[in-house]
Subunit: 408 residues, 4 copies
Amino acid sequence: MDLTPSARAVTLLAQLRSFMDTHILPVEADLLARQRRLDDPWVELPEIAALKAKAQAAGLWNLFLPSVSGLSVLDYATLAEQMGWSHIAPEVFNCNAPDTGNMEVLERYGSEAQKARWLDPLLRGEIRSAFCMTEPEVASSDATNMRATARIEGDEVVLDGLKWWSTGVGHPRCKVLIFMGLTDPDAHRHSRHSMVLVPMDSPGVKVERMLTVFGDADPPYGHGQVRFTDVRLPLDALIAGPGRGFEIAQGRLGPGRIHHCMRCIGASERALSLLITRGQDRVAFGKPLINLGGNRDIVANARIDIEMARLLVLKAARLIDTVGVFGAMTEISAIKVVAPNLACRIIDQAMQIHGGAGLSEDLPLAAMYAGARILRLADGPDEVHRGLVARWELLKHGDTGRGSVSKA
Amino acid sequence: MDLTPSARAVTLLAQLRSFMDTHILPVEADLLARQRRLDDPWVELPEIAALKAKAQAAGLWNLFLPSVSGLSVLDYATLAEQMGWSHIAPEVFNCNAPDTGNMEVLERYGSEAQKARWLDPLLRGEIRSAFCMTEPEVASSDATNMRATARIEGDEVVLDGLKWWSTGVGHPRCKVLIFMGLTDPDAHRHSRHSMVLVPMDSPGVKVERMLTVFGDADPPYGHGQVRFTDVRLPLDALIAGPGRGFEIAQGRLGPGRIHHCMRCIGASERALSLLITRGQDRVAFGKPLINLGGNRDIVANARIDIEMARLLVLKAARLIDTVGVFGAMTEISAIKVVAPNLACRIIDQAMQIHGGAGLSEDLPLAAMYAGARILRLADGPDEVHRGLVARWELLKHGDTGRGSVSKA
Amino acid sequence: MDLTPSARAVTLLAQLRSFMDTHILPVEADLLARQRRLDDPWVELPEIAALKAKAQAAGLWNLFLPSVSGLSVLDYATLAEQMGWSHIAPEVFNCNAPDTGNMEVLERYGSEAQKARWLDPLLRGEIRSAFCMTEPEVASSDATNMRATARIEGDEVVLDGLKWWSTGVGHPRCKVLIFMGLTDPDAHRHSRHSMVLVPMDSPGVKVERMLTVFGDADPPYGHGQVRFTDVRLPLDALIAGPGRGFEIAQGRLGPGRIHHCMRCIGASERALSLLITRGQDRVAFGKPLINLGGNRDIVANARIDIEMARLLVLKAARLIDTVGVFGAMTEISAIKVVAPNLACRIIDQAMQIHGGAGLSEDLPLAAMYAGARILRLADGPDEVHRGLVARWELLKHGDTGRGSVSKA
Amino acid sequence: MDLTPSARAVTLLAQLRSFMDTHILPVEADLLARQRRLDDPWVELPEIAALKAKAQAAGLWNLFLPSVSGLSVLDYATLAEQMGWSHIAPEVFNCNAPDTGNMEVLERYGSEAQKARWLDPLLRGEIRSAFCMTEPEVASSDATNMRATARIEGDEVVLDGLKWWSTGVGHPRCKVLIFMGLTDPDAHRHSRHSMVLVPMDSPGVKVERMLTVFGDADPPYGHGQVRFTDVRLPLDALIAGPGRGFEIAQGRLGPGRIHHCMRCIGASERALSLLITRGQDRVAFGKPLINLGGNRDIVANARIDIEMARLLVLKAARLIDTVGVFGAMTEISAIKVVAPNLACRIIDQAMQIHGGAGLSEDLPLAAMYAGARILRLADGPDEVHRGLVARWELLKHGDTGRGSVSKA
């Protein structure tokens, strides 16, 4: 398996790193602190808008979307890792979740009218979007539990239900939601649900509250709880027609998980870098911290585990490129377990070596931890993905009696 | 070793559990949510004040202080575990850090005048206090790094320096700080520092900001950063005279660590209880979550590890009762490593089984995690305590050639 | 809970340690090496016989049996820990498995004739015994899988089946087996099986082979595979009558697991002691090994975990003393998971610091590892015991809604 | 980075798997059992010799040596994984350590006369060899500790010292040793040692004993302790001249570590395969074991970790191919930590699910465990390799302030 990114990706990676080193990393802490101190933090700082314009002008824009950027999933994975160094970078480069997944859905399944109305302004970075799938009342890890409905009534689709962890719904420019709901309970279990495009200002749509993760609502992005009450939309709000929700969801999640996992790798690298810097600079008991106790082992294990995790994510990305999302399911589930857990662990170790500062807002680590921690649940909890890997392994084993063979 | 609490402690434990089941646990979530939603959250809710009055009337008050309560350290440990089930219980029972440690210091080392001025209102729960020791610029795990000064100038002691993680300084009734600073850099390394009682309204004392842990400032308690600029106090503000800071700090930390660790045990029990309830109530893939994957192993390991950790904390408590803090140093360091890590792990597992809710403010878990996580740093990071346990083990080994013998 | 051993146990512990330091530990390595080099190693070395005589003369004999020694289970636990330092000590003190469990069974359930024939010579150390329960063809972790039969035919009980892991069956003085087999498949599932006393020389009893653990058959004790073919014995060979096998087995296992677990604690202590000695004595890169990398953390974690595990085993022992085996089931299962795993881990770490020597016969570590490793399976694998702890926890939780309360 | 093996390697892999499935795996258990039961097990079974002839005839011979096989290190790595499924396969294909490393040394550094005398018969599989480096008296993890000497006296090199863990020295066809000793203590620390070719029958060479690993001497290969007493050889016994020992050793270890690690991957795959088969076939409590407790998580984690480890070993192999051993040092140290630990863990889990059988000679697991366990020490213990990874990481960090960048 060839994990080499294209020459163009290598060039873009250098440009991206340079942009981040010059324009993002030096100001990030200040921007985040200012956002937090606003009376109403649910606004976009003008500096962010300016950075977005600069990124767009530099051609570092919409790189996640193969049809636009011409990059493979593997190519973009290497860029996503770099963006993972910063909490604000994905937004600056118009590569932020859930917009990325939503744009992919529109690009692949949207009608021309849907594309013109929603995809184009999303690609221009003018609006943002959210994705409304999980529900508070049921175990969303088992999607068949879903209770929200998208019933067809004549020439309307009618939405009812309560969604939460709708990422991005707090943003002032969030203009459209993708809602997933039950359309036909009697259909085959993978044909019961539909996806619907819902303008944010539709009657009956109410953001009841913004949720916190470790007490932090992460403005201006955030995760919202959204009530849908008799929301009536024309049938052309359905994406690809009724009953295709699962099919779309499955395809949506493959590249998105690559993005999340590569950003986790980037976050792990940044945490390791902070860990080492602190360990070399700060002295206790007459030695740099890095030379005390088991700290060098922590560095070594982090380096080793990052290398392995990155290779596996790149392999999953390459498989999507070569055999498609469904041929990469084992690897996608595998990285979904590995990368967020790895990031949590290394970020935690970096917090520890920083002492109290590591937990405070003086460093990006606590926010990074919250971001990585939620990824152990979002897009399927660890437990579900481990279960999938095990299931595929047992099936495979049943066939050959020899266990698996390397595809590398 | 007899780990049996006294009959009186057993009775108090039953009363305490009843009080908590009746008055605290049912309202806690609502009180915390209301506190968070206040425009200025740095106030004490009247309901808390009412609960304190009720606890005092019930005789569940100042139980932590042997000279007041007549309880042994072991006795109180069993009560501290129960208080650890709730974020607000320690305050309700006037057993909250850092007031507890500060009252112990005053009770043991304070002059009569100091006791009258500060200890009495603290014991009555009228005022609160803070403890100013760690500093942002140096690795406070090595106390000899401390830079803040408490210089003697004539009949004054003059304080200068920057302290942070001053727990409790945000509380509206916080009236006094205990400040630790360098008095005589030429003295023996354990006789250089002094502790000073500083009225909160002294000229030159400035709370520069409240720090966050995972983005949460934990009002109305909180951890503050406090600047001391030419703060001048009469010499009778010194506790036990100049140069005795280390001695006082050492004695202060023993029982306090028992309290912290037993609260961690209580938090672990509550997290396990929440984990099981959720695991039994919520269904996915046709089964209660608790019967999926490795969840029952998580329950078993949690139960086993809690049992072991509790026994070790009780042993450390009993050793303080029988041979004093200095005879219990290995065990105190051991539990300081074990209990917060255990709590972090079980709370994290409980968060995971709750899905997104586990990370949100709908459940106490995220706040509990923050509380347990900071204890892996406060009062000495894991690394320092492991280093101490190893050092004592190597010393002991040098003597006998047979390793250690059970004291149980 | 009072974990203090009796004054007599404290005295015996001192005598036992002195005996071991003087007579056993200095010669153990040589004896084991000589045993291994014999053409036929399935003999008892005369030195072992001499040590047994000496131990008996010193009153350090049959200490495991309360009715003989007058010691509580807790008392004996402290002695078992010391015996766990040495592979040969349990035999020297006539406290070796499975003789101990078999003697307990005879003492509690045996008829006077059975006691006279088998218990008395076992107590005198003249003969040894084995216990035949697990079978190669089925998962013995689920005892209802058992296939061997003990059918009643007229005035005979007839045994058929294949047993393995019959510990001690290789010893030249092994004269009697306790066989467990199915008597009445239609009875209640806990009344189907019987235990039968089988003279080793009964027609139809054949030791097919001695099994190895990590390639080592552990002569002269060992674990045998025993074929029973139409073995006919008079009905008075049944212990306590037909159908009581499960009842006897349950009672047999409680104290035996305490013994095993305390020996694991002792083995862990010895491994830690060897680890430290090597770490202090051997130099690499200019420092004693103990000061390199994370080795001091290994020491600290070992000390902490040994302390906790010991306390839990002692608590389980005390519960057997005070409320009986059935009141101590959670704790017995808990320690059965904890102690062998702990011993495996610390022994492995001690092997690692010794380099190649640690794996070789020059040190007792590899044999200790094999002994601890098999205890993760014997008397119920980790998985079964974790399952039991979880089941009891869930049941308990169902009752109170508050999770568990400390019994300490 | 392209991890794709060559077309020829893919073809060879298929042939190798077919050969192993047909000729090796079905007979392996029987051959190993027969070897063990021999009165003198230090002989080569005729069946092994026949398998070697068959492998040679099939062109599956000396595949490890690029100059002979035309394969890259990466290519061979994929074959080494398959060989790792079987304890006897490496010997059958003439790819067994330490012969492989010794042949590499001779091929790269040997004189024509040395090649004719030793390399040619080794390549033909007529003789075997051993490598004598580590010493019992010193921490060999720090090679500067080495005490054995290879002094130049006139036209002779004179060897003295005690070596152990000389792998392969027990084999009846072992005819030559490579000895490493101190020649010039005053030279630069990397130029003090020499490597010398020592005919096994040289006067003064004495194999004092064969060492055991977990009680097993692993005949007919084994690890010996070899005494060198005034062994006098002509100067042309030196490899590449005096003082070049370190240089040769470094180059020797790179590919050898790839081989070891890929065999560990193969062993892990086999263990996982055995684990799954047993888990599916054996029933307890009414279910296949694989569906009990956390067993499916064990399968998932094993699959995930094997995938990651394999990718990292392949990356290290490709780096050797593209930038040489010295450009791959971090990765080589990384895999040397990862692969043996992974194999130990998965083999241990496979043993556990097999119950007692898993520890016995009925299954290959115990022997596989011993083989993997010793690799945590051989060619540098985990601790040294972690230390190297950390050192390189800290150095790298010092340069860029950004931590590392993916090379994938």
